[in-house]
């Protein structure tokens, strides 16, 4: 089962995890959460603005989850990614992968987050006290 959510609102990772844990047939559950760092190479981050290309982001994340589900025979896959303005410390993304054995759940989880980072159309802008800067954008 694949669930994809792209939303502006905060998400409750404990609640999401609890939901995923309801079905104990999986054997293995791996959960990853990526959050807004308070300090980067550019200084102390106050907020993070995330822009996205809605339709394409949904398609790419779903396709990534589908590929992972097939490759590692996943029983459950949940991906949530936020956009909009987030405060330091808030969660940006959560990926849950469940399978019969841990090896598959770990591999699928890493594949999804790695693939999402280089393909899903989201862009981060770090907002500092007196300036803001797009992450890795030298035009």
């Amino acid at each position: 089962m694949i669930t994809i959510k792209i939303q502006k609102e905060k998400f409750n990772s404990q609640k999401i995890l609890k939901n995923a844990e309801k079905d104990k047939k999986y054997g293995a559950l791996v959960s990853f959460i990526g959050s807004v760092r308070e300090e980067t190479n550019n200084g102390k981050v106050k907020k993070l603005f995330i822009e996205h290309y809605k339709n394409m982001a949904e398609k790419i994340i779903y396709k990534t989850a589908l590929d992972a589900e097939k490759k590692w025979n996943l029983d459950y896959c949940y991906i949530i990614h936020r956009y909009g303005t987030l405060k330091a410390g808030e969660s940006i993304v959560m990926v849950i992968t469940c399978s019969k054995h841990r090896k598959e759940a770990y591999a699928a989880n890493q594949y999804i987050i790695d693939w999402l980072k280089i393909n899903a159309p989201f862009w981060k802008k770090e907002i500092f006290e007196n300036e803001s800067k797009w992450v890795d954008q030298t035009l």
């Binding site: 822009e51 290309y53 394409m56 990614h81 987050i113 159309p121 862009w123 954008q137 035009l139």
Partner: protein, 83 residues
């Protein structure tokens, strides 16, 4: 053709999207970028570092030699930084 701009490209061009009729000599993504760059200074500023520009046609990543013939929507953006 609907043209979408994201992140720093959107900021420099000053628009999230616009409709542009393809000139007859524009066939590939590369041709289209060159056409925009020659059109106005703001496009030149945003797009002249073509190595750093990524393109999606009809919501699929494509290379610069992609032929635009059946493209209804093209998105122009810097490298993605999600996750």
């Amino acid at each position: 053709m609907k043209v979408l701009y994201f992140a720093k490209v959107r900021e420099i061009i000053g628009l999230p999207e616009e409709n542009i009729d393809l000139p007859p000599n524009v066939q590939t993504v590369e041709d289209f970028l060159d056409y925009l760059i020659s059109k106005e200074n703001k496009y030149d500023l945003a797009l002249s570092n073509k190595e750093a520009i990524h393109i999606a046609c009809n919501e699929v990543h494509v290379d610069k030699d992609f032929i635009l013939k059946n493209t209804k929507e093209i998105a122009i953006f810097p490298p993605v930084t999600g996750g």
